[in-house]
């Protein structure tokens, strides 16, 4: 059993590579969405505020599986043809972005309002105040929970297995049922996920301890 597993290990590595690739790309998009969402929630524009409140509430409170299945089954029927990788990427980014927006919003709101007024009184413009004074402080607050979301994102990328996404979970599940070797296969798969997520979780713990 184990011999076969070693022999076919490149298949797992390939899936592992797809998991890493989609996680990195989705993380990039997530951070982008989170900043747009968080800043919009803190802006004075009522329309933007409501829009992102609706987005966050909707995407946080419905399962990722529903969102990915929606994209996977509806888009082709509307003539939009995406690969499963793109569907997964879009679904993961929108889902994690909803949580990320809430984190950025809370971090920005944790900075006292007086700092903005003080900066303005010293002749700082809006962008200068934001980039030189508010954001550096807010990032310190946002970093641990955002890293936690990165861990969730890697774990959630396994949802792609449900739409034949070709990442680690899909490769291992289909290989296991093809060869009828379950225990060792899932053990290896678990270890591969662990090797990605555990170091990140450790970083979160260290950042949280330092924040205290």
């Amino acid at each position: 059993m184990w011999k076969k597993l070693v022999e076919y290990f490149p298949i797992f590595l390939q899936g592992f590579g797809v998991t890493i690739a989609i996680s990195l790309l989705a993380l990039f998009l997530t951070v982008l969405i989170s900043f747009i969402g968080g800043l919009s929630r803190c802006s004075s524009n009522k329309f933007l505020q409501r829009l992102f409140q609706a987005y966050m509430s909707l995407f946080q409170n419905t399962p990722l599986v529903v969102q990915v299945f929606f994209l996977y089954n509806v888009l082709p029927r509307l003539g939009v043809l995406l690969t499963t990788f793109e569907v997964g990427l879009l679904g993961l980014s929108l889902y994690t972005g909803a949580f990320g927006s809430a984190i950025i919003e809370a971090s920005l709101k944790a900075i006292p309002q007086e700092q903005i007024e003080a900066a303005f009184s010293q002749g700082f413009g809006y962008l200068q105040t934001m980039f030189l004074i508010i954001l550096p402080q807010a990032m310190k607050i946002a970093l641990p929970p955002m890293t936690n979301q990165a861990v969730n994102l890697i774990k959630n990328s396994s949802v792609m297995a449900m739409v034949a996404g070709g990442e680690l979970m899909y490769r291992s599940d289909s290989w296991a049922s093809e060869m009828a070797i379950y225990g060792p296969t899932f053990l290896i798969t678990g270890l591969l996920y662990l090797s990605l997520c555990l170091p990140l979780s450790r970083i979160v713990q260290r950042l949280e301890r330092r924040a205290k």
């Binding site: 399962p63 990722l64 929606f70 089954n73 509806v74 861990v151 662990l194």
Partner: protein
């Protein structure tokens, strides 16, 4: 409007989805109740023991929290036996799914509880000890009530996640809400049918989760 959901009727669709929702809620509620018990034991063990028990609890939490739930659901379905001590286990997929979700959510609950316990000042333990409180009575009467109040919001968030995560159970063929939606979808031809179907499914999950969250905001200790 009559054949919007052809070949089904409105009522058939709704009843079928609600049946799925029933299974979803059953799996979620049992898993939440079990996870709360096991997670609390784990979290307290991790918090209070510096010895092997605490280390073991820490190891369990670290490993389980960093592996996808889907892997637990799949492997428990395939690895767990279908009979135990000669008794056949009925509804095995449901059992293995609840088992997998409990294993996973317990680690999350434990970590949340440990965070809450760490947030209570150490001085309270010393004062309680000086007043003759034992470890157990300090924990039950003084520390836990405060910690539970602090972690109410993240704990409810975890329970909502648990309800959402039941949608993974589709892979082991349990007819929960998502599975039933997929079954219906197989018969649909048009885009608008699929869109309305998924909107309906999303709405059901949304309503359940939002009501749970707003109920938790009313809780006062």
């Amino acid at each position: 409007m009559a054949n919007l959901f052809a070949p089904y009727s409105w009522l058939e669709i709704l009843v079928f989805l609600l049946k799925g929702l029933g299974m979803t809620l059953f799996i979620a509620l049992v898993s939440i109740a079990l996870s709360f018990i096991f997670g609390s034991i784990l979290g307290i063990a991790r918090f209070s023991s510096k010895g092997p028990i605490g280390k073991l609890a820490g190891l369990y939490i670290d490993i389980v929290r960093n592996i996808p739930l889907l892997l637990f659901i799949l492997s428990f379905r395939l690895v767990l036996p279908s009979s135990f001590l000669g008794f056949k286990i009925p509804f095995k997929p449901v059992f293995s799914a609840i088992f997998a979700m409990t294993v996973f959510t317990s680690a999350m609950v434990a970590e949340i509880l440990r965070g809450g316990l760490n947030g209570i000042p150490k001085g309270q333990w010393e004062i309680a000890a000086s007043q003759g409180f034992s470890f157990a009575s300090t924990m039950i009467h003084i520390i836990l009530p405060q910690a539970l109040k602090k972690i109410l919001v993240p704990m409810m968030g975890q329970f909502v996640t648990c309800i959402k995560d039941t949608s993974f159970c589709q892979v082991v063929g349990i007819s929960e809400l998502m599975m039933n939606a997929t079954v219906i979808m197989g018969k649909f031809k048009y885009a608008h049918q699929v869109i309305i179907l998924y909107a309906l499914v999303a709405l059901l999950y949304y309503l359940v989760n939002i009501s749970l969250l707003s109920a938790s905001k009313r809780i006062r200790f």
